[in-house]
Symmetry: none
């Protein structure tokens, strides 16, 4: 099956935003064993949309269009496609009803331009949008099919696997094909060393493809197994992921949709353990990530962003003498912060960071990127020193990631 | 001038990497006042390249091709373009000489496949590559022009402004043109209401284009002004941005590259005022955003993520009776948190959030999305109640944004 992708939006062709949808869709198509022959972006312009659709339809069996389904005047994708294919537009009453309900439940004022999102070309089948107001749709054109989704990445992440791929499988009579995927998430290795390590493993099995995707500071390896024989697909996937897991074990922290904070949260909750965090250089990022997890109040007791020295002394009980003698960015201060936050909160575990995120504040002794992360559970205390070569935001991100990784290692009983 | 962009590489259409070149090129083209009519990606496949080039040349005055200029077997861009335009290939002796020299100076072994990078279609003009081995080239085809650059982003960042744009300016006789841009950042209005408001303003001036770009929870309006007369370009831009600024004044918080946290940080620093933050539902996100600003330690004294009731009482001095009587998510608790964090930190301003980010924890009295934000400077105290209809992460994001917006309004002396 040949796939064409057409992404629509002035924000794309003006370079205002970078299209993340096309590459996401391309990866998903690859997982299905389908080939993307062309990816195209055009502006919110009827002539450009029609020209793009024509061209891509000439190359591909299925066209996936995204973007331009919003309620505003410049969103003209539906109308342009209808015109290009010679179809009139009509209002779908049930979609309109749901739209109005949605506005009510979100306490948003209804304006009439929103009714536009209930208009579709004649003959279109609706693809539900469980997370947003713009439904997608598809139109069969003989052997070919045109599918249309909104441009919001969060919405596509739901609608593509749940709504669109089943339609394409059915259309191309590949309902019997099994396609399985496993994502392995790694932290603490460079991309090239992962590449080398994977190159040394024997992973050549039928229907298996392997891709690696850097997501700073993590790297994700995606293994796909496509086979008409369901058991063979599962067996091959199992074999390959097992081999990768053995080869790179130390650096794997999560699988599939799990996140670092999600993993740590589950361990803490499952074992009834509680956590408090004292952050200096990470500035609240660790607390922010942990509290993104629903139910985090079960284990996250409190966090302190002790940016000033006074706050380290007053809130955490770090001795002023420790700061004077070793500096705010030092192992003794980091350890005292972890011990202090644990003690004042009465939690099982205390976690702390202190460092120099830059761009100013570095010295030859302690250059920008120097970071200490400490963890204690009352019995043990651990501290690691890092030197990161990134900018301010990335130093915060990789420090927070290391703090969570040290916590994860502690929770699973590994050396920190 | 209409521009088409054709990016070439199997890694693009397989979704392995996200194309950053196209959007970079598009931004630069927009700055020149040229319009990108189509952006297209195809794999390293002669048929696909020829088809893509044909299509894009039909739409555009100038085609910018990137990628596939390497020395390896799968890099076939030059050959495919030559074939598509019916031109034979020849070796450019001076490029070959420079290539060999480059290898020598880098102590790299010369292999014959590298000579491929000195082969160009007949009639091609070379575009030098100051940072890599693959030169670009361009070919005039009557009124149109085809330009080809390597796919390495670092190389394009050099070759586009230095090598390619001057060629296009010369080709289209636009050496004398001025292009200016201004971005207006808004918060607190929906996209459709901004659309309506802008539609009511008189903004039709020569060379002016206006785009609106949602960046949850903000919306950015970009005004571009292109004119051969430099003063007219500046005058029209000024006029249009002034009219938008007047029409939407209340909701504009920043211009161009400024961020909400950057604006707030500058006010605080410039006026020697200090801040402490007590976060419950935002979970550290406000502190994280503020500490992304270099030099934030000048005004950000400390933050507390008081997730548990105990931490609200112990760290912030919120009376237990207030929590028992009104609940942790209530105006009295929010106000006590802001007053508490201000008092214990000795800062000028205290800022607090408390709310129900969900998905659990809502009641009919206080549904998920209920959020209180409070601010005090010792004299005044303010509190606002919100009801947001988003998911957990977005409730955190919009609450943090409102907290910073209330702080900004306070700092500029406006009603909160």
């Amino acid at each position: 099956v040949k796939i064409g992708i057409l992404t629509i939006g002035n924000e794309l062709v003006s370079g205002m935003i970078q299209d993340r949808n096309a590459s996401f869709i391309a990866r998903e198509m690859k997982t299905e064993g389908w080939r993307v022959v062309s990816m195209m972006s055009v502006g919110d312009d009827e002539h450009a949309i029609a020209g793009g659709l024509d061209h891509v339809m000439g190359l591909a069996d299925a066209v996936i269009v995204t973007g331009g389904l919003g309620p505003t005047a410049d969103d003209i994708t539906t109308a342009a496609i209808a015109r290009c294919l010679g179809l009139p537009l009509h209002t779908d009453k049930s979609v309109l009803r749901r739209l109005k309900k949605r506005f009510e439940s979100k306490h948003l004022p209804w304006t009439d331009n929103n009714a536009k999102q209930a208009r579709f070309p004649e003959g279109a089948q609706i693809i539900d949008n469980p997370v947003g107001s713009a439904c997608g749709f598809y139109l069969e054109r003989g052997e070919k099919i045109v599918t249309v989704l909104p441009g919001v990445p969060d919405e596509i992440h739901w609608m593509l696997p749940e709504g669109l791929i089943p339609v394409l499988r059915w259309k191309f009579n590949e309902g019997d094909k099994t396609s399985l995927r496993k994502t392995i998430k790694l932290f603490g290795m460079t991309e090239s060393s992962i590449d080398t390590a994977i190159g040394e493993l024997d992973l050549a099995l039928p229907g298996i493809t392997i891709g690696s995707y850097p997501r700073f500071p993590e790297i994700h390896i995606v293994v796909t197994s496509v086979n008409r024989d369901e058991r063979a697909a599962a067996h091959n996937l199992e074999l390959v992921t097992m081999r990768i897991a053995e080869g790179l074990k130390k650096h794997i922290f999560a699988w599939d949709y799990e996140t670092m904070e999600g993993i740590v949260a589950r361990y803490l909750t499952d074992h009834g353990r509680t956590l408090a965090v004292a952050e200096s250089c990470t500035g609240g990022l660790i607390a922010d990530r942990l509290t993104n997890v629903p139910g985090s109040s079960d284990f996250f007791e409190r966090g302190v962003v002790s940016y000033s020295n006074a706050s380290k002394v007053e809130l955490l009980g770090v001795p002023q003498s420790t700061i004077s003698r070793y500096g705010a960015v030092s192992e003794p201060t980091a350890v005292a912060m972890a011990e202090g936050i644990r003690k004042i909160s009465g939690t099982h575990i205390g976690l702390s960071t202190t460092g120099i995120a830059g761009p100013a504040g570095g010295t030859s002794q302690k250059p920008v990127g120097t970071v200490f992360v400490s963890l204690t559970d009352g019995d043990m205390k651990a501290c690691r020193e890092f030197l990161f070569g990134w900018d301010r935001r990335r130093i915060k991100e990789i420090s927070a990631q290391w703090a969570l990784e040290m916590l994860r290692r502690h929770l699973v009983g590994r050396d920190i």
